[in-house]
């Protein structure tokens, strides 16, 4: 292990060590990080050994700029906005990876966290190396955050100290928090399929309040109630966040005589009541996951009403149930005034 001061020579030294598959400790605007060439499997293996990582824990990587980031991850609009606003800076942004890094760097689901540190030394190292380096804190997992070199050296065994090839010492770092990690991969999955859910304009009512929306649900239910017993009824709800999909379902709950409070199923994914199943697909990563929630089993009960929020995400699956269930697509859009919503529906 070689310890050097932070200066121009440090860049050259670091690049030499990293090219050879070694580990280098370096300062950043948050804490001391430990870098390895993120594309070199041998270097990552060594890093795993040093960090004593439990399995399944990915590393984020430091790149020089957005252009370099795009060599390794796919950036969606959310990610691009965040890059513009917060990078370089103490923020790690997770996107879907392009699998161009060594195994174990991306997460099990193929996502990868990117850092562009607001610390010129790191940027210079990455630029000279022309490869991304891991941007993980230099402590072993679950140990103290390293703000000075002794924080690191006091918390690792002699054996692990031997794994560090180079230390760039910049003295005491200000006590800044570790970087904020933002996951943008979620936004990839909301694929609106307008074509599938175009609704005729005549089935349209203006709601002026939450109660209005609930009453529209009641009336819609009563209109199609006769099918119940022959086939289950699916209310496929489409609408922006806060448009009133849960309010609509509350109305269904009332008309079905459910006494319990109907609340948002976002967290639990499915909430089951006596005659009503309330599903929220928003957090699902893959439409097929609806089957795992025993959706097809739910359809076997011909007396069941099923309300599905963010139904556009599982449009194909719902369409395939056409023979087993009555499917009512309900679209709720924001109106001009504060409490106004345009509710339209159609049986497809």
């Amino acid at each position: 292990m070689k310890v050097i001061k932070e200066n121009k020579k440090a860049i050259k030294e670091a690049v030499k060590v990293l090219t050879g598959g070694g580990l280098a400790v370096f300062p950043t605007e948050t804490v001391y990080g430990i870098g390895a060439d993120a594309t070199n499997p041998k270097a990552i293996k060594k890093l795993n050994q040093y960090k004593q990582r439990p399995f399944g824990k990915p590393y984020s990587i430091a790149v020089a700029d957005q252009e370099m980031a795009e060599e390794y991850v796919n950036l969606n609009q959310t990610a691009k906005n965040l890059y513009k606003q917060f990078l370089p800076g103490p923020v790690t942004i997770i996107s879907t990876g392009k699998h161009r890094v060594a195994p174990g760097v991306e997460s099990e689901t193929g996502t990868l966290g990117i850092r562009i540190p607001a610390y010129p030394l790191v940027i210079d190292i990455v630029k000279t190396l022309k490869k991304p380096i891991t941007a993980t804190s230099a402590n072993a997992s679950y140990q103290k955050r390293p703000y000075k070199i002794s924080d690191i050296l006091n918390s690792v065994s002699d054996k692990n100290k031997g794994l560090i090839d180079l230390v760039i010492d910049a003295g005491d770092l200000p006590r800044n928090e570790p970087s904020t990690v933002i996951d943008t991969t979620f936004d990839d999955l909301i694929v609106l399929r307008q074509g599938d859910i175009k609704l005729k304009s005549k089935n349209e009512i203006l709601s002026r309040s939450e109660e209005n929306t609930q009453n529209i649900a009641k009336e819609l239910f009563q209109k199609y109630e006769e099918y119940l017993g022959k086939r289950p009824i699916i209310f496929a709800l489409v609408g922006e966040m806060g448009s009133g999909k849960t309010q609509f379902t509350k109305g269904l709950g009332k008309v079905l005589g459910i006494k319990e409070e109907i609340v948002s199923p976002t967290f639990n994914l499915v909430l089951e009541y006596k005659k009503l199943i309330h599903i929220d697909t928003w957090r699902l990563q893959n439409p097929k996951e609806l089957e795992t929630l025993r959706f097809l089993k739910m359809l076997e009960n011909k007396n069941m009403v099923i309300a599905i929020e963010w139904a556009e995400k599982v449009a194909d699956l719902i369409k395939n149930c056409r023979d087993q269930a009555v499917i009512i697509w309900v679209k709720i859009v924001y109106g001009k005034k504060e409490n106004e919503r345009l509710v339209s529906w159609n049986i497809i």
Binding site: G56, T180, I182, F186, M241, F267, T292, E338
Partner: protein, 346 residues
């Protein structure tokens, strides 16, 4: 009473060993590092992950506590509320262990675990709360204020009608383009913002009797506000985060304040559990509110006890059974109960 506890209610596989209220180990496996969550929920993946990791997590909990299954007195498991297919993994595993080692199995309500999590501690005994006490669970799936008559006997004073507080914070972060779930990110960014920049409406401010929470209206107001403020700048995001968080907490505080000032009995403790109990601003606002009433705020002693974990399940199992002549264990009849309610399970 030494307990091996397991919780697989959502997307974290958790196991812990507790001795009375002392936490000997508390192991949580998630796809995430301690600071971040990677991705949303995939039920089939969640199930597979639980299946793959449960043995490892249990083993780790036991070795960290320097303990083996034969030396625990009982096993405890979360039966609900939660994701049905995830709950099943923990229940099946504990049933198998209970049978193999001939140990009693205690069913625990996940929300009750959060509620009693402030009573878990690194030492062996701490001051018990005086009953009746107040309890608040604020997480991604729950927002509920209860009167705790004694351990195991709860009266709901207020609960959410729509979104949970943690969910609302996560969704606000999402609307600001900060990913999901982003409640913790919102808290960080709010520190750089001015909470008085945007006058968002405090939910249900017109309620004379404050016996419910609601976050859907605030969510809508936030959506409209963001649309109006676009394009967003860094500082606007900070200010929006601060304003939203402030109003969301203000609503919570108004309901709690109403309840406290309308009690005819003396309350000396407020127990707060769940992921949002981690929020520093919420803690300081609660302390300020409680001070004039002489009420002590009791929050979990570590961050790990706020998120979904199993040490809170072991603690709840102990507290519920410590004075019982016979353990409330019904090993064979335990089944998952995804919609389990707090005040209906006793």
């Amino acid at each position: 009473m030494k307990i091996l506890a397991i919780d697989t209610s959502c997307d974290e596989t958790a196991a812990a060993v507790t001795e009375n209220t002392k936490v000997l180990s508390n192991i949580i496996w998630s796809q995430a590092s301690l600071h971040a969550k990677f991705g949303g929920v995939m039920p089939s993946l969640a199930r597979r992950m639980h299946e793959e990791h449960i043995d490892f997590v249990i083993k780790k909990a036991l070795t960290s506590a320097k303990c083996i299954v034969p030396s625990v007195d009982t096993i405890a498991v979360t039966v609900g509320p939660g994701l049905a297919i995830a709950l099943g993994i923990g229940i099946n595993k504990t049933k198998q262990l209970a049978k193999e080692y001939n140990k009693p199995l205690i069913a625990v309500n996940h929300v009750e675990g959060h509620l009693l999590s402030p009573l878990a501690n690194p030492k062996s005994e701490i001051r018990n709360p005086k009953f009746p006490a107040l309890g608040l669970v604020v997480s991604g799936g729950n927002t509920i204020l209860v009167k705790i008559n004694k351990i195991g006997s709860y009266e709901t004073l207020a609960q959410t009608q729509d979104d949970a507080l943690g969910e609302a914070l996560d969704k606000a972060a999402r609307m600001l383009g900060l990913g999901y779930p982003g409640g913790a990110i919102l808290e960080k960014f709010a520190k750089n913002g001015n909470p008085k920049t945007y006058p968002l409406p405090v939910p249900l401010i017109g309620d004379k009797v404050k016996n419910r929470f609601s976050y859907s209206g605030l969510k809508t107001a936030m959506y409209r506000l963001i649309e109006k403020e676009k394009p967003l700048t860094k500082q606007k995001i900070y200010n929006l985060a601060a304003s939203f968080q402030d109003v969301a907490f203000e609503h919570l505080l108004q309901v709690i304040k109403f309840r406290i000032s309308n009690f005819e009995f003396r309350i000396s403790d407020l127990l707060v559990g769940g992921g949002v109990a981690n929020n520093i601003l919420l803690r300081s606002k609660l302390r300020k509110l409680l001070k004039p009433y002489g009420i002590t705020l009791r929050v979990p002693y570590t961050k790990k006890l706020c998120s979904d974990n199993a040490a809170m399940i072991g603690t709840a199992a102990y507290l519920k059974n410590k004075n019982a002549k016979k353990l409330n264990a019904k090993s064979k009849n335990i089944d998952r109960s995804p919609n389990l309610k707090l005040d209906l399970d006793n």
